[in-house]
């Protein structure tokens, strides 16, 4: 009886999403233990209120960026320019909506502003993809260029100022509610659903894995590796653009210098936490979403436990170190030797 139970348990723990989910539940449990009203939700003014909703709402931009980053990392790449793209998209949207103080006037119609912001973000992503796939630069360097120049471009658009947005309809994106839930949740969920279907219902997921595991072999097998890589970066840029819109709408302003600061690191962390191999190939979209939620819950926990928020960075760094080591085959082998050594040989069977 207990044997089958244990083997079931180990089987369950071997599942890719087991550890990320366990971490998330642990964090939620810690939050609940220290703050009894953590799980409490109530219906007020026609929408849901509560800590969980708050975490989901705040995690939405990170979820979007993590989804894009997952595809890029799965193709053996990395995109460290997402923070800069967030700033650019926010700046474009804010500039096009304009700084008119009355809440109902915008310089250009809002749909146009949103499309322009997303278009610029898409172009940024395409640029990264072309540098990586066409010119053959290392992904980290190719995206470094946009990371350096991007903040400058964002400041150029905002003229070095923080543009405050007064146009009320724009606030709906990052602060509005639909069916009682934050609207940003629906955007993140829609992107996730579309991507998930595309990856599981078409051959896209297979192609991406093939390119990530061995680009040359994938090309020989007839996968359009180059186009796929460009598309992955373009999608990542688009996701960063959407995140930029959500963030700027939520804080009602665009700051070329600080919007999306360190977002690339959080996104990479979320993707790694979710079990996507940084070496490319194996990837998990659900894992990345869980990873993003873990980061946001961790941040929430740090704030609500009264721990100084400064410790946040240290905790994140330690988490990255641990996850990284757990992913390393060398480290696993070494730990395996350490664990096996004290046990007598007979009992292993």
């Amino acid at each position: 009886m207990s044997d089958t139970f244990f083997s079931r348990m180990t089987e369950l723990l071997r599942h890719r999403l087991a550890w990320p989910l366990l971490t998330l539940f642990l964090l939620l449990a810690v939050n609940t233990a220290f703050n009894a009203s953590f799980l409490h939700m109530e219906w007020r003014d026609g929408h849901l209120y509560g800590s969980l909703i708050d975490i989901l709402n705040r995690a939405a931009p990170l979820v979007l960026v993590s989804l894009g980053m997952t595809l890029v990392i799965a193709t053996r790449g990395i995109d460290i320019s997402v923070g800069a793209v967030v700033a650019i998209a926010a700046a474009v949207a804010a500039w096009m909506i304009g700084g008119s103080v009355s809440g109902s006037v915008s310089r250009f119609p809002m749909p146009l502003a949103i499309l322009a912001a997303l278009g610029v973000a898409l172009v940024c992503g395409l640029w990264n993809g072309l540098l990586v796939a066409r010119i053959g630069m290392q992904p980290i360097i190719a995206t470094l260029i946009l990371m350096v120049a991007g903040r400058g471009i964002a400041q150029l658009i905002t003229d070095g100022q923080i543009i405050t947005i007064y146009y009320t309809p724009f606030f709906f994106l990052g602060g509005g509610y639909l069916l009682g839930l934050p609207f940003s949740l629906f955007i993140a969920a829609a992107v996730f659903a579309a991507l998930y279907l595309a990856v599981t219902r078409t051959a896209l997921g297979l192609f991406i894995q093939a390119v990530g595991i061995n680009p040359t072999a994938a090309r020989v097998a007839g996968v359009q590796a180059r186009r796929l890589v460009i598309a992955a970066y373009a999608f990542c840029g688009l996701c960063a653009g959407m995140a930029g819109l959500l963030i700027s709408s939520n804080v009602k302003s665009a700051d070329g210098n600080n919007a999306g600061q360190l977002l690339e690191l959080d996104a990479i962390l979320a993707v790694t936490l979710g079990g996507t191999a940084l070496t490319g190939g194996r990837f998990s979209l659900v894992g990345s979403v869980i990873g993003a939620l873990i980061i946001q819950t961790l941040t929430y926990a740090i704030y609500s436990l009264g721990v100084p928020p400064e410790i946040n960075l240290v905790v994140k760094a330690l988490v990255v170190f641990v996850v990284m080591l757990l992913q390393s085959p060398e480290f696993r082998a070494e730990i395996g030797v350490l664990l096996r050594r004290p046990a007598p040989r007979g009992s292993a069977r």
Partner: protein
């Protein structure tokens, strides 16, 4: 196509193609200096050029360490935050604990080297990607800064301000600061290490091809750890110079410095794939970044963010040039 064009151009000029990026940087630097001298009165003076060294002393030191890391085929993203941590620890120990700078400076240098060695150990021992390890190191060092204090700590210690104000008079109206002097010494030492020691040769060999380096019997593991230790040490030294420059410790000091350092190394002609490059080129790379800033500040009408855009554009051009020079087959195959 274009790769061969670049190579034939280089061959016509009697130049080894691998010097081309460096030659391009030097000519661009000279061109910018000439343009600046023609356009702006007062630009062509010894002190303006010496100021390039003084204002970028810490960047030179960091970029030298980064050069070794990139030559070995790795990357170190933690340098900026190690600088911040160094300023913070120095300021906290000197101001709040009343320690003497003679104790504090060696201590922070050791701390930086140990931090680098730790990351190097992880990279080498567990085959982790340098990028992600140093990224975590970057988080860690910045986080540690905030644990010491969220606010800036200014240094009022007499010995620090004396050191900060010390100038080496060269001739009439021209002088060098202590930081610039340290930077020059570091640069000369680095040139010696890179080209005249077994360690330097091993760095080039590991960056060229790690497998071959192992087969040649070179101490690859020790070299990898050594490279990150050196980079950590250089960052801490840059942090000390930065403390002289700013006379304060702050967790937000040197944000994005790692990008400037990488840009300087690339513009200085070191190949990002490792194995090819010169420490002296890095100096030119830093001076290039410096002169862009000087030109923009002399102009006065251009805003500061143009610096970032120009640096990004330069980075792009030089990466492109590198690709053209290193691609052995046409990219369309």
């Amino acid at each position: 196509m274009s790769a061969t064009v670049a190579k034939t151009v280089a061959a016509r000029l009697g130049l080894n193609p691998k010097y081309l990026p460096l030659a391009a940087t030097i000519s661009l630097f000279v061109a910018m200096a000439i343009v600046g001298s023609v356009l702006y009165p007062g630009f062509f003076s010894a002190q303006v050029f010496l100021n390039l060294l003084i204002d970028n002393a810490f960047l030179i030191i960091v970029a030298v360490g980064m050069t070794f890391v990139i030559l070995s085929g790795g990357i170190d993203l933690s340098v900026g935050s190690v600088i911040a941590l160094t300023t913070m620890v120095s300021a906290a120990l000197v101001e709040h604990r009343g320690w003497s700078p003679a104790v504090v400076i060696p201590l922070v240098l050791f701390m930086g080297a140990a931090f680098g060695a730790f990351m190097g150990f992880l990279i080498e021992r567990f085959r982790l990607q340098p990028f992600i390890v140093t990224l975590a190191g970057m988080f860690l060092a910045r986080g540690l800064c905030y644990l010491i204090s969220v606010d800036s700590i200014s240094i009022a210690s007499d010995s620090y301000s004396t050191l900060a104000q010390w100038r080496l008079p060269l001739w009439e109206g021209a002088s060098l600061s202590l930081g610039a002097l340290i930077a020059i010494v570091v640069l000369l030492a680095a040139v010696f290490i890179a080209h005249h020691t077994p360690f330097g040769r091993a760095v080039y060999a590991v960056g060229g091809n790690e497998q071959s380096a192992v087969l040649m019997g070179l101490p690859v593991r020790a070299t990898l750890v050594g490279v990150y230790t050196l980079s950590g040490f250089c960052s801490a030294l840059a942090g000390v110079v930065f403390t002289f420059y700013m006379l304060s410790g702050y967790g937000l000091h040197a944000v994005g410095m790692e990008l400037d350092a990488i840009a300087a190394v690339v513009i200085g002609g070191t190949l990002l794939t490792g194995g090819v490059g010169y420490v002296a080129g890095t100096l030119v790379g830093v001076l290039m970044l410096g002169i862009i800033q000087t030109l923009i500040s002399f102009d006065g009408s251009l805003s500061s963010w143009w610096t970032r855009i120009v640096v990004g554009a330069l980075l792009f051009v030089f990466c492109l040039l590198q690709r053209l020079l290193t691609s052995r087959r046409p990219p369309s195959s």
